[in-house]
């Protein structure tokens, strides 16, 4: 695919349209965004690696757009990242610059440029690695357990996925998306990409849905859409979303884990009554962002489904032998094909010039089935991981992190509820503190329980099935 009108290269054409609004006080037009973005990029001046400390504020978007417009490769990290995890990432990737609002994050004194709250710091690393020609962007896969593993996304990946999403969601220039997710999270980033691509408006806020300021801003700026992970919908339910008066709202999206069927039905009914739409979607960072969506016209009769492949994509199911399953209602591993399938992972800077390892085919690790009408349903996972409030948490990784702290443990649980079984009751506080302080998993997302010993089979394999999860 030839990349014409690559994202952000031509956003200047939207001129005086407002691109960004921040907390009702700052309005940034497309023209101004393009100028500020290029000014930041000029101070970098060459294709290199930049750590971008993401917040839902104007300068963070300026840095991101500046990088993507100018062939600079950003590593998207949360501004609230744990210092130790940041240290690991720095050691592994040796970025040339860091764009951040926090001086303490930069580990260097060399400020070379400033745009309001954000500064560009030059690091002292010697660049002993190459960036692949097509590499555009690097994203973490979980954000939670802090693995230095990054997903390598190309310009073609981002362009293909953005155009597809714009098409199936029918995103319009009059849309105003309000942020509910961080921009270093692929779902949050896709909302930013798609809206900037069509000249629409993004309302930036760091307030949560449980904060009055969020809803005041929502009404004042007349938001038309927002996205949410399953837990966002728990919050909306608690807030009695169906009783809220939100006349500007056009549609809401859901991704980042499976919304249980009952919740999907409940929200379908609310949206039907209020004249909104609920679009259920499915995706992974490895597929840039989105792979499927459930069209609103099918929402009621196909509740619980992840829908159909996005425009330009194709799903198939394979059995244990890798053969394609043709019959309906048979469970197999979900495989996706499309131009948004990323090149693969990087574990360190030495991997940044690796070629395309996926070749457009992604084995999702999710087990799914297809009904007679061609709609897909995710029924479980091949690998041991949970989604905690939208973030992927690898259970084996958490176990290993705790073991490194000298805590004997096994991890299990269900989505939004990780359970850590420890064998030494005296280590409970240590385990809680470690998970809270070093992994970013919210305190409410996990529980620590005591068991006398870890159940194992005769061959020594951990018997996860014998652990009581309620």
């Amino acid at each position: 695919m030839e990349i014409k009108n690559f994202l952000f290269n031509e956003i200047g054409k939207y001129g005086a349209n407002v691109a960004l609004v921040e907390d009702g006080s700052q309005y940034v037009t497309y023209q101004e965004l393009a100028q500020r973005a290029d000014r930041m990029a000029e101070h970098i001046g060459r294709r290199c690696l930049v750590f971008l400390a993401c917040r839902n504020v104007v300068e963070s978007v300026v840095g991101y757009v500046g990088c993507l417009r100018n062939g600079i490769v950003p590593v998207m990290i949360g501004a609230d990242i744990d210092a130790e995890l940041l240290g690991d990432l720095l050691d592994n990737y040796h970025p040339a610059y860091i764009w951040t609002s926090s001086k303490s994050m930069a580990f260097t004194e060399t400020e070379v440029y400033r745009d309001n709250r954000y500064s560009l710091y030059r690091t002292a690393y010697v660049q002993d690695y190459k960036l692949g020609e097509e590499l555009a962007l690097l994203l973490t896969t979980s954000g939670s357990t802090g693995s230095p593993k990054l997903v390598r996304q190309t310009r073609k990946n981002i362009a293909a996925n953005t155009h597809s999403i714009v098409e199936y969601l029918d995103i319009m220039q009059t849309d105003r998306a309000i942020t509910t997710l961080p921009m270093h999270y692929t779902y949050g980033l896709s909302i930013l990409n798609t809206h900037l691509n069509v000249g629409a408006r993004v309302i930036l806020t760091e307030a949560t849905l449980l904060d009055k300021r969020f809803w005041n801003l929502f009404r004042a700026e007349q938001a038309t859409t927002f996205g949410g992970v399953p837990y966002t919908y728990e919050i909306l339910k608690k807030l009695r979303f169906g009783r809220m008066d939100l006349p500007s709202l056009r549609y809401i999206t859901q991704a980042g884990g499976k919304l249980v069927k009952e919740m999907a039905e409940e929200f379908n009914a609310i949206c039907e009554e209020k004249g909104y739409q609920l679009i259920i979607m499915y995706g992974q960072t490895e597929a840039t962002a989105r792979m499927s969506y459930l069209p609103w016209k099918d929402a009621a009769r196909k509740a619980g489904s992840i829908g159909i492949a996005i425009p330009g994509g194709r799903f198939s199911l394979i059995d244990v032998n890798g053969d394609e399953i043709e019959k309906p209602d048979v469970v197999g591993e979900l495989v996706y094909r499309g131009e948004n399938v990323t090149f693969g992972y990087a574990e360190s800077r030495k991997d940044l010039d690796k070629p395309d390892e996926n070749k457009g085919i992604l084995h999702t690790g999710d087990m799914a089935k297809r009904d007679e009408d061609g709609f897909y349903y995710v029924v479980g996972r091949k690998k041991r991981f949970l989604k905690i409030f939208g973030n992927r948490v690898n259970l084996d990784e958490v176990e290993n992190l705790l073991k490194q702290q000298g805590i004997e443990n096994v991890c299990t649980g269900k989505d939004d509820h990780l359970i850590i079984f420890i064998t030494d009751q005296g280590q409970e506080k240590q385990a809680v503190d470690f998970i809270t302080n070093h992994t970013g998993i919210s305190r409410g997302g996990f529980a620590v329980r005591y068991i006398a010993s870890i159940p194992r089979s005769e061959s020594g394999k951990i018997l996860y099935s014998s652990l009581v999860v309620e």
Binding site: L210, D211, L239, R240, F389, T436, S442, R443
Partner: protein, 78 residues
């Protein structure tokens, strides 16, 4: 237990905080009182006092002190 003790207990058990820090607690002020912590705190208080918060009260409940005022509306005096 007095109502104030019950109120304090909800914060301590949900957020894992010490008695001495209660007065200064604010939503998003500590890692434990994030969205998830807030949802759990609201649920714990609803159970404790057998009430059901209105939407506006859930989103205005942004500190330990603010919660005391909000509970008055539900005829819970702390």
């Amino acid at each position: 237990m007095t109502n104030r003790e019950k109120y304090n207990e909800a914060f301590k058990s949900v957020l894992g905080v010490e008695e001495g820090t209660l007065e200064s607690l604010e939503y998003m002020g500590i890692a434990e009182w994030d969205s998830v912590g807030h949802m759990q705190l609201i649920a714990a208080l609803e159970d404790t006092f057998d009430i059901m918060f209105e939407t506006d009260d859930i989103i205005e409940f942004n500190s330990y002190a603010a919660g005391i005022d909000i509970l008055k509306k539900y005829e819970v005096t702390l």
